[in-house]
């Protein structure tokens, strides 16, 4: 596949910004592939849903965000956490159920959160996040911080009443909110072409009085541009936007999913659409970054993720007394 490289390829991203974007996507990819391998050893408890393949979405959106901003995520939340700056070592420890995890081993893969980073949590409830994002967007508006709030959700959650109600409320209240529908083609084992009664999830934006945008979710630059416009509009008081990312998850719905419901789209996506491959080729061809610098990032990320697994495996489990702590701030 060839593509014309426009002269404004960087779209406002200087080499540091490009490196950051690449590092974020590479970290997510390495993290998820490593969790996939570690899960297969049987040492990671519970349910794990991997984000590999969708990296450009989290990275392209979160590149625009700062400490004023909040995001809510899904059961497939590791990528959003990493893109919003949650500590990778603490995340891996959390997934292993260790006391050193970002949630002290009490949340796990489906509930990783770091409110200090504006990351409101992966969420075990499909459609759980959008109402919360209305709230953090409302807080930003009331406090005049200029902050925005982003709800990441999947094609499955696009059919949940909570999501639809939240889009309506966000428009009614003119909130600085961005709704990012990551349409990876399947809600669990059910195709979105079947479950979504519209040609596109983005088409639903019209029903809520907000712009709806369809983006190639494998293309970091397309994501970055669309998200930039939405964030700018939200910060300026222009209200919410719905962005639909068309993309594919590389692994199953959960680890252990035999994926017999799928065709060969994953192989096609890996070979022809992969966000990391395309990003690399583009920035090297434009001369904005060299292959050597990108390779160096690859090595650093591999060391970081590898180290996170070693540290997680060596970390202690939570103490039995932790069972009863942190239910309330105060309860007597």
């Amino acid at each position: 596949m060839t593509e014309t490289i426009p002269t404004d390829a960087s779209r406002g991203l200087d080499p540091d910004g490009l490196l950051r974007a690449y590092r974020t996507m590479r970290t997510i990819r390495d993290f998820e592939e490593r969790v996939h391998d570690e899960f297969a050893t049987g040492d990671i408890p519970g349910f794990v849903h991997l984000y590999a393949g969708e990296e450009a979405s989290a990275a392209g959106v979160c590149q625009h965000l700062d400490e004023r901003d909040t995001i809510a995520s899904t059961h497939r939340g590791h990528g959003h956490c990493i893109a919003k700056g949650v500590d990778v070592t603490g995340m891996m420890a959390e997934i292993f159920g260790r006391a050193t995890g970002v949630c002290k081993g009490k949340g796990g893969s489906m509930h990783i959160a770091d409110l200090s980073r504006g990351m409101l949590g992966a969420n075990g409830i499909v459609g759980g996040g959008p109402p919360l994002v209305c709230g953090t967007a409302l807080a930003a508006k009331q406090q005049n911080t200029g902050g925005v709030a982003v709800a990441f959700f999947g094609d499955g959650a696009s059919n949940q009443g909570t999501t639809l109600e939240s889009m309506n409320l966000a428009s009614v209240w003119n909130l600085p909110a961005i709704f990012v529908a990551e349409n990876n083609g399947y809600a669990e084992a059910t195709a979105s072409t079947w479950s979504v009664a519209a040609d596109n999830i983005a088409d639903r934006a019209a029903g809520f009085g907000m712009p709806g945008v369809i983006v190639d979710g494998f293309d970091f630059f397309a994501v970055h541009e669309a998200a930039g416009e939405a964030v700018e509009r939200a910060r300026a008081g222009g209200g919410p936007t719905l962005i639909e990312m068309k993309l594919t998850r590389y692994f199953g719905h959960f680890e252990g999913d035999q994926q017999t419901y799928r065709g060969d789209e994953v192989r096609n996506a890996r070979e022809t659409l992969d966000c990391l491959t395309r990003f690399r080729r583009r920035v090297v061809e434009t001369g904005e970054l060299t292959a050597e610098r990108l390779d160096a990032v690859d090595r650093e990320v591999a060391a970081l993720v590898g180290g996170s697994v070693e540290r997680a495996r060596a970390a202690p489990a939570p103490d039995g007394a932790d069972l009863l702590t942190d239910v309330y701030v105060r309860y007597e």
């Binding site: 995890g101 409101l120 759980g128 919360l132 209305c134 709230g135 953090t136 406090q143 909570t162």
Partner: protein, 337 residues
């Protein structure tokens, strides 16, 4: 200085005083101003029962009307609470929790624990409960046991204007999610309430009446009926001690057990349906921790295991009344006279 005001006014005053004290306090709900987008008054209602009346103009931009989208705006209140706000959201009738319960019990209630102690969610969800207004099956339930069941929530049931103000002030200042149950038949009841702000701590029961023959634990709207029953019992020589727990989570088990140690007899009065109710919860407390104190079987006075009926005669039969409470107390006393 105390004056006589209504249960409705007491709640309104607590919210108003906290809004004046703390700019993080905001109010949201369906028609909490009432009139958004219409050609008439911008604050036509002040909530369906008028509880938030007058706040819209006193606190510009801080009383937010919402679409009828409980999941979205209850969730929004919860989300805002994680970012430094102290929202007071109105879930108009507790019967409507079915359309937004996920945000309350899977999100707000669990954040602190699931996130390893790194979340503070100071949200107050006000809601109306209880029978007596002929509002029938979907607008009359007493569903506080369902919320009491959930770790991470605090559940408050004021039984008087004085309690309503002090508990609401505490609820707004509290750093945990609080579900605040207002009995819809009590809004016009009046009582002495101090003008100045004050708090009533959670988990501290009020002994509404002292007595040594039988302990009557009554929740929320049932406290007044228990006191009425106690007066009737006194005329037949039975002195009932009436305990108003004020909050079901946390629950002041100590005061209940201390009273039981004195009386040896326990009646629990609960407007909810009987299975997995507060009556069952307190009876289990007595059977477990208070077994040696009991001189008679615990009497549970509850609604029947039915939906709330519409027709007046049926609804009157549904709700526990003073006569049933008195009969239960007599039965407990007669068991071990």
């Amino acid at each position: 200085m105390a004056r006589t005001i209504s249960y409705r006014e007491a709640i309104n005053e607590a919210i108003a005083q906290e809004m004046a004290r703390d700019p993080a306090v905001i109010v949201m709900g369906e028609d909490n101003a009432g009139g958004a987008g219409g050609p008439g008054a911008e604050d036509a209602w002040g909530g369906v029962m008028g509880v938030t009346s007058g706040l819209y103009h006193r606190f510009p931009g801080r009383v937010l009307d919402t679409p009828i989208s409980e999941s979205a705006f209850i969730g929004a209140a919860i989300g805002a609470a994680t970012r430094g706000m102290r929202p007071v959201a109105e879930l108009m009738f507790v019967d409507f929790m079915g359309v937004c319960f996920d945000q309350i019990y899977n999100q707000a209630a669990k954040f602190r624990y699931m996130f390893g102690g790194n979340a503070v969610t100071p949200v107050v969800i006000r809601t109306m409960y209880g029978a007596g207004l002929r509002a029938a099956a979907q607008h009359s339930q007493a569903l506080y046991p369902l919320f009491t069941h959930i770790p991470g929530l605090k559940v408050v049931l004021p039984s008087s204007p004085y309690e309503a103000k002090g508990l609401m002030t505490q609820a707004i200042r509290d750093d945990d999610p609080v579900v605040f149950f207002e009995h819809k038949a009590m809004y016009d009841t009046t009582g002495e309430v101090p003008e100045e702000p004050y708090t009533i701590p959670f988990g501290e029961a009020e002994t509404a009446r002292e007595g040594s023959d039988v302990t009557v634990v009554a929740f929320g709207g049932m406290v007044a009926r228990a006191l009425e029953a106690a007066d009737a019992l006194a005329s037949s020589g039975i002195e009932a001690e009436v305990i108003d727990p004020r909050t079901t989570s946390p629950l002041d088990t100590e005061t209940i057990l201390e009273s039981l140690a004195e009386t040896g007899r326990l009646v629990v009065v609960d407007e909810s349906t009987p299975r997995c109710s507060m009556a069952a919860d307190v009876a289990a407390l007595a059977a477990g921790e208070g077994f040696a104190l009991l001189r008679a079987p615990v009497q549970q006075v509850t609604a029947p295991h039915t939906p709330v009926p519409f027709s007046a005669g049926l609804e009157d039969l549904y709700v526990p009344d003073a006569q049933r409470i008195a009969n239960a107390a007599k039965a407990a006393v007669d068991w071990s006279r």
